[in-house]
């Protein structure tokens, strides 16, 4: 007995976050030019430096072409058919408290299980919720302010802390970085901003939920996290979208900065709508995430569970500049039906004695195509640098694909880089062993897949570990249940 039928049943489970909230929104008409960028900047009441930066990005973007090197097949995106700004209508431009947030919107987050409302205090997570293009509410601000932590929407940060934004924006991911980051730089409308002052350990997990609701829009949020010397923060990110027949674009940028002895843990559970079983609809998820370990002994850890999106193009990276700094990347990526994922990481070792660890688990089922693409680059100054990479792929079914494209580039003779990878299907022996002991086939597959992903799940904060397992239950790893 192969278990193929059972796997098919598990894989066939429907997307559960595909509802649409009937909510009024203000949108710009589709199209992208300098007027649109100026208008976004005007709506956000941004200072001149922001407008100038956006315009520079747009002008540069107009000289670029979409990258073709990824192992992906995508319908061409008509960038002039997208609306680059959509915001839920609210009583004021930005809600002052949750009382001002549209109740339908709050209901949306209730459906998602997002602990947005203050009464969800017991959840112990401060949340910034971004709906289409704008941040709608940020919780626990008072408590965070007492600790000196700034956690707010990006728009608010531009208004209240322009000096910090101007100092750090684009220093990790400059607008010239790549096609999608450049587009984001020109049109991003909101996102989250975090500043942890020196020596402060953030008193709670910080979290952002991103939701695309409106049709014909793209989502372009930007997150900037700065951990001052000796500080520590754990940040969680989740995302969902309605079920629509057309492909929608999500092009986000995340910049992390860790100063001396600072630590940032960034966890993502990505569950954008993946499209239906025939590959109709779904989010095109083109994201640039990069952390800069600027300080000595700083540490940035990326953990991601990628279950959604029709296409995922995402390489959370670490630039290990500070001596003794550490970069980590833990990833579970699934591709079912006609989903495609080309995801991985980059570890750029610049400083001496820098270390990095990469653990990537790819699961392919149906006709899904899952590719790991990772770069480990040791530059001449990185004396004693070390990297270890483990990259495993699990195949479920005869029509899926699992691909591994690692790049190892070493320019320092004192460095050590190790990479290992394996690709296989669920072992018949393991299945037989479980069945023989009276465990149902579904439970057996659950156990095996769960074991396969364990080394990544254990890196997730508790709240997300539970959610990640639930997500896997509704997509591929119902097996994880």
């Amino acid at each position: 007995m192969t278990g193929t039928a059972d796997i098919g049943k598990l894989v066939g489970q429907a997307y559960k976050h595909g509802f649409v909230t009937d909510i009024e929104s203000d949108s710009l008409p589709p199209g992208l030019d300098e007027d649109v960028v100026r208008q976004i900047s005007r709506i956000k009441r941004e200072p001149q430096f922001m407008t100038d930066w956006r315009l520079s990005a747009l002008r540069h973007w107009q000289t670029l072409v979409e990258p073709q090197w990824a192992h992906l097949r995508a319908h061409p995106v008509d960038f002039q058919a997208i609306s680059y700004y959509s915001a839920p209508k609210s009583k004021a431009n930005a809600p002052k408290s949750l009382d001002e947030v549209d109740p339908k919107l709050l209901a949306t987050y209730e459906k998602l299980g997002v602990p947005l409302h203050e009464r969800a205090r017991l959840a112990g997570v401060a949340v910034d919720a971004v709906f289409d293009s704008v941040s709608v509410a940020t919780t626990f601000k008072d408590r965070l302010e007492k600790a000196g932590v700034i956690f707010c929407s990006f728009s608010e940060a531009v208004q209240k802390h322009p000096e910090l934004v101007e100092k750090y924006l684009g220093t990790v991911v400059p607008y010239q970085d790549n096609f999608y980051a450049c587009l984001n730089s020109a049109v991003f409308s909101d996102g989250s901003f975090v500043y942890i002052p020196p020596g402060v350990r953030c008193p709670m997990e910080l979290s952002t939920y991103f939701r695309i609701n409106a049709t014909n829009t793209g989502q372009f949020e930007r997150t900037l996290i700065i951990a001052a010397p000796g500080s520590h923060v754990s940040y969680l990110e989740g995302c969902t979208a309605p079920m629509r027949d057309e492909n929608q674009l999500h092009a986000a940028v995340v910049e992390l900065i860790a100063e001396d002895d600072a630590q940032i843990k960034y966890s993502t559970v990505q569950n954008w709508y993946p499209g239906d079983e025939n590959g109709v609809g779904g989010i095109y998820n083109f994201v640039t995430k990069r952390g800069d370990c600027r300080g000595r002994n700083s540490r940035i850890s990326w953990t991601q569970v990628e279950t959604g999106s029709a296409i995922t193009w995402k390489y959370p990276s670490c630039v290990l500049r500070g001596e003794g700094s550490i970069g980590e990347f833990y990833s579970v990526a699934t591709a079912t039906n006609l989903q495609q994922a080309d995801t991985g990481t980059k570890m750029i070792h610049i400083g001496a004695n820098t270390r990095s660890t990469i653990v990537s688990k790819g699961i392919s089922a149906g006709r899904g195509q899952n590719a790991y693409r990772g770069l480990v680059r040791i530059l001449p100054g990185a004396h004693g640098a070390r990297n270890f990479t483990q990259c495993d792929s699990l195949l479920m079914g005869p029509k899926c694909g699992a691909h591994t494209f690692p790049y190892v580039e070493v320019k320092n003779p004192t460095a050590t880089v190790e990479h290992e990878a394996s690709t296989s299907k669920i072992s018949e022996d393991q299945l037989f062993y479980c069945l023989q002991r009276g465990i149902s086939e579904e439970d057996a597959i659950n156990m095996i897949v769960s074991g396969f992903c364990k080394s990544v799940f254990k890196e997730l904060p508790m709240e997300f570990a539970v959610e990640a397992q639930n997500l896997l239950a509704v997509s591929l790893e119902g097996a994880v249940g």
């Binding site: 192992h71 691909h403 003779p413 880089v417 190790e418 690709t423």
Partner: protein
């Protein structure tokens, strides 16, 4: 500053020269229209394409007596039991080759020969002359840019050497490509097509040598078909001179039950790029690919090996060992593809590089592209320095650091050549490696 565009312009100019036959002009124009590879092409990321700057691509003339003399001086001792074929600057030299040529060898005069010089003037009288057979088709899924240098070869090679091993036969051939022509005037474009009949056995030793310290440019193209249940043991040695630039393309197709064993040693040239596009078409076809790359000074050596598993139960085992000393740069890109037809395929890669120079660089890419679940595939890659524990072990037993390091480096690559069955060949390969490693070990003592 010279660019790819400048290289293309030089080739375009060549394509319009009156001396070049229309068929060749068309081939050249087609290759140029498709575009030369650049550093933005994933499979050419680590290649030294600057080696093409200011390069003259015109095929070298028939070698004169002086060139043949230089080539003769470069030849190593002949291998026992092997027929020797010597190709100088792309032209088969009957003087330097085994006489008479084995019956399995045919020299195909590419129609519209480039040079009007009589072959006999160079003492390279033809054995058989006929137009080339239908070219072997390109590797099925290879991006055409990977075939660009093969296309240039097709347009410019003066001759194609053909070896046709009949059903069930056995042969041993040593094929020596010698480059003598100065790169500032002309280039060497050797070409080989090899057919190994069903059930046949071929032991092939292929060498690329430079004559003296000449700065040469060569672009070789090899097309190999391995028949059902046939066996190919192919040793490739690249020992070009320190000022040489070298490109080569190897295309191979293996049919049911074919066994292909490769040992590739790259130790020479200032700049080398080797492209291998291998297809395991038949059921249970197998490939073993062992590669050693030794870099020193400012050498750049890049190898790209693409293996496509198409037949059921096809198997590949690939190993790479590289030592980069001085300011050299080594790159190995092993790309394994398992198509959905290759039920039960197995692929294993082990890529290891050692950095032995403060400014050396090693780049390795073990890639897997798999389209079916009934497969076993794994790979491992390491880049680093000598193992400190092993080094300590040797030092604690009284060895001086230089000897300890030399022994560890030697052990790192010796495993790969130890399985060469022919002692004379193994010793020659060891001597090449020892010279490149500047080892303090007396390799004769190891024998």
């Amino acid at each position: 500053m010279p660019t790819a565009a400048a290289t293309s312009r030089r080739l375009e100019q060549l394509a319009t020269e009156a001396g070049l036959a229309p068929r060749r002009q068309a081939l050249l124009k087609a290759a140029l229209a498709a575009g030369l590879p650049t550093g933005r092409d994933e499979n050419w990321r680590y290649a030294n394409l600057r080696a093409l700057d200011r390069q003259v691509f015109s095929a070298a003339a028939v070698p004169d007596a002086e060139a043949l003399q230089l080539a003769a001086a470069a030849l190593p001792a002949a291998l026992e039991g092997h027929a020797r074929l010597v190709v100088v600057d792309g032209w088969l030299s009957t003087e330097l080759s085994t006489t008479p040529l084995p019956a399995i060898v045919t020299r195909l005069e590419n129609e519209d020969a480039l040079s009007t010089t009589a072959l006999d003037d160079a003492g390279a009288s033809p054995t058989t002359t006929r137009t080339p057979a239908t070219p072997l088709r390109a590797a099925s899924g290879a991006p055409t840019v990977d075939l660009r240098f093969a296309q240039l070869n097709a347009a410019l090679a003066p001759q194609t050497l053909s070896i046709d091993l009949p059903y069930g036969s056995t042969a041993a051939v040593e094929l020596v490509f010698v480059a003598t022509a100065d790169a500032s005037h002309s280039a060497s474009h050797p070409a080989l097509q090899l057919r190994i009949g069903d059930g046949a056995r071929l032991d092939l030793v292929e060498r690329h040598l430079g004559a003296g310290a000449a700065a040469t440019f060569s672009n070789a193209d090899l097309r190999i078909e391995v028949g059902t249940q046939a066996r190919l043991r192919h040793t490739r040695l690249q020992q070009l001179g320190p000022r040489s630039k070298h490109f080569d393309t190897l295309r191979l197709r293996a049919h049911d039950g074919a066994e292909c064993e490769y040992l590739v040693v790259a130790a020479g040239a200032q700049s080398a790029r080797s492209t291998a596009l291998l297809e395991l078409l038949g059921r249970e076809a197998s490939l073993r690919w062992d590669a050693v790359s030794l870099g020193d000074r400012t050498q750049i050596n890049d190898a790209f090996v693409r293996v496509e598993h198409i037949g059921r139960g096809t198997r590949t085992r690939q190993a790479f060992r590289g030592i980069a000393a001085g300011r050299s740069r080594l790159a190995f890109n092993g790309h394994m593809i398992v198509r959905d037809s290759a039920v039960g395929a197995a692929s294993d890669q082990s890529l290891k590089a050692l950095l032995a120079g403060t400014e050396a660089e090693a780049d390795v890419r073990p890639q897997l592209e798999i389209y079916i679940d009934e497969v076993r595939a794994s790979h491992g890659a390491t880049v680093g320095k000598l193992d400190e524990q092993m080094r300590f072990y040797l030092l604690s037993r009284g060895l001086d650091p230089a000897t300890a390091d030399a022994l560890l480096k030697w052990a790192f690559v010796e495993d790969m050549v130890a399985r060469i069955a022919l002692p004379a060949l193994r010793h020659q390969v060891e001597d090449v490696m020892a010279a490149q490693l500047h080892t303090v070990i007396d390799t004769a003592e190891l024998r």
